[in-house]
């Protein structure tokens, strides 16, 4: 079968699909210019001042911007801003105005093409496609590709950020355990401490500091966030001398080295270790 473009037919039909594609592309260009121009004119050109109908992406972006502000320690004020005006305008433009215009243009196109006595260029219909087409096409494309792409991003974000947050939390917990070990060192044996040593302690039962002494024998479960799946921090301790010990911390997340042998007998989990002296400690990440 031979593919042949009938140029004569295309030239004689200003509402041919190729021309409509052109109107839509031209409309998209004009809409982009108008969007940028409007935001510049009113002096509010930010990534969130857009008339492109993606209110869910803009709302999400504004929430992240707020989170970053709060992360920097700035107070958050929930006041109406120009971004909100653009947001509500984009919802109206995208979901209320563009769709009826596009469907009207489609219907009129069909009528115009059936008309035997057509003479003039169908300006209104071309304008209808040009103004509403980019928006409708954009909505349709994001409706199909958006869920797939954003779902993949969400999965990857969850995985990476959970891991990082759990490493940070493990480091924080290990610092706390090291603090308790140092505290134990300086407390007299009469008060339940080591009396200046971690080994050869002058007491009846175990002569070394244990995890029980520093309340770290059970995994630490701390709720840092209401919806965040924080893992438990498990610790192991090894006393080297009277004033030197090491603490290993493990969380049940897979680290970068899958074959890494963890101190607690597991394999491939994230692990850090802290070398502690009475007044200092050094922390290093073994598997992250």
């Amino acid at each position: 079968m031979k593919f042949k473009i009938n140029w004569q037919r295309i030239k004689s039909d200003p509402l041919h699909i190729l021309w409509i594609t052109g109107y839509v592309m031209a409309g998209g260009f004009v809409l982009g210019l108008a969007n940028t121009g409007l935001a510049r004119i009113i002096g509010a050109a930010t990534p969130h001042t857009t008339l492109i109908p993606v209110p869910h992406i803009v709302s999400g972006g504004m929430l992240i911007a707020e989170a970053l502000e709060r992360f920097s320690g700035h107070p958050i004020f929930h006041t109406w801003r120009v971004e909100h005006t653009f947001l509500v305008a984009s919802i109206i433009l995208g979901y209320i105005v563009a769709l009826p215009i596009f469907l009207w243009a489609l219907r009129e196109r069909s009528r115009w093409r059936q008309d035997e006595h057509r003479k003039k260029f169908p300006v209104k219909i071309a304008l209808g496609f040009g103004s509403s087409g980019p928006i409708v096409v954009f909505i349709a494309i994001t409706a199909v590709t958006g869920p797939i792409l954003s779902s993949a991003v969400l999965t990857s974000l969850k995985s990476a950020q959970t891991l990082q947050a759990n490493i940070d939390a493990l480091i924080s917990d290990a610092n706390l355990v090291a603090l308790k070990a140092q505290s134990f060192y300086f407390v007299s044996t009469k008060e339940g401490g080591g009396g200046g040593r971690w080994k050869n302690i002058d007491r009846e039962y175990v002569s070394e500091i244990t995890l029980k002494d520093i309340e770290a024998e059970s995994p630490i479960t701390r709720i840092y966030g209401s919806s965040f799946p924080m893992k438990r921090s498990e610790f192991a301790l090894e006393v080297y001398s009277e004033d030197s010990l090491a603490i290993w911390g493990t969380r049940n997340d897979r680290g970068s080295d899958a074959n890494f042998a963890n101190k607690n007998g597991q394999r491939g989990k994230i692990e850090i270790h802290v070398t502690v002296s009475p007044r200092n400690f050094h922390l290093s990440v073994d598997n992250n």
Binding site: S59, A67, N175, V187, G225, F228, P278
Partner: protein, 209 residues
Amino acid sequence: MIWILASSILVAMAFIATFLTTGNTWDAAIAGGIVSLVFVIGFLYRITRPPTSSTQRRWTIAISSIVIVGTILHWNIMYRMTQWQYDTLHLIRKIIFHGVAQGMLQPEGVNTLGEYAAQHGLQRKSLGDVFRETTKFDTGDSAVVVGKEWGHMSMFVSSLSDTEVVLVAQDSITIDGEDSHFKNFDGRYGMTQDRLRITKRGLEYEIQN
């Protein structure tokens, strides 16, 4: 035309009213989106009625359904994703705060306790006196409360006596989902706060909020 105008006004009203009530952009966008959805469904119902041919009706309904379902899904995923990031950033901020607070308070506690424990003989100084000598806090001559600001973190000596020293580190961000009614050392509410208590029985570190 009248329907478009009326729906536009309704969308704007739903958005503005929700935003003014909750102060939440996402809630407002969802309210506006729901009104839009009702309009779109009503509009599609209207244009697919006879005399529209059944073929056209089927195509319109099929394509519209895909777009509507896809858009709703996309909204849902974006909502979950951004809320997740919002929570995570806040979580990381909290963990960093607790880490920095520990890093600041730990040397104070260990040095004070270490110097206190190293004393021999009968002329032993009190814990408070040892703290005054070793600390980087400017405690002056009395057991007054002294604040120090490091970035967005304030540190205070909240109690200073012969037998006990209590240090407090307080951040300037409010914690959602935890105790927003927690009264902080400086009188504000709901900020992250850690406390280190030094006694001769050792150091007690507490994440208070």
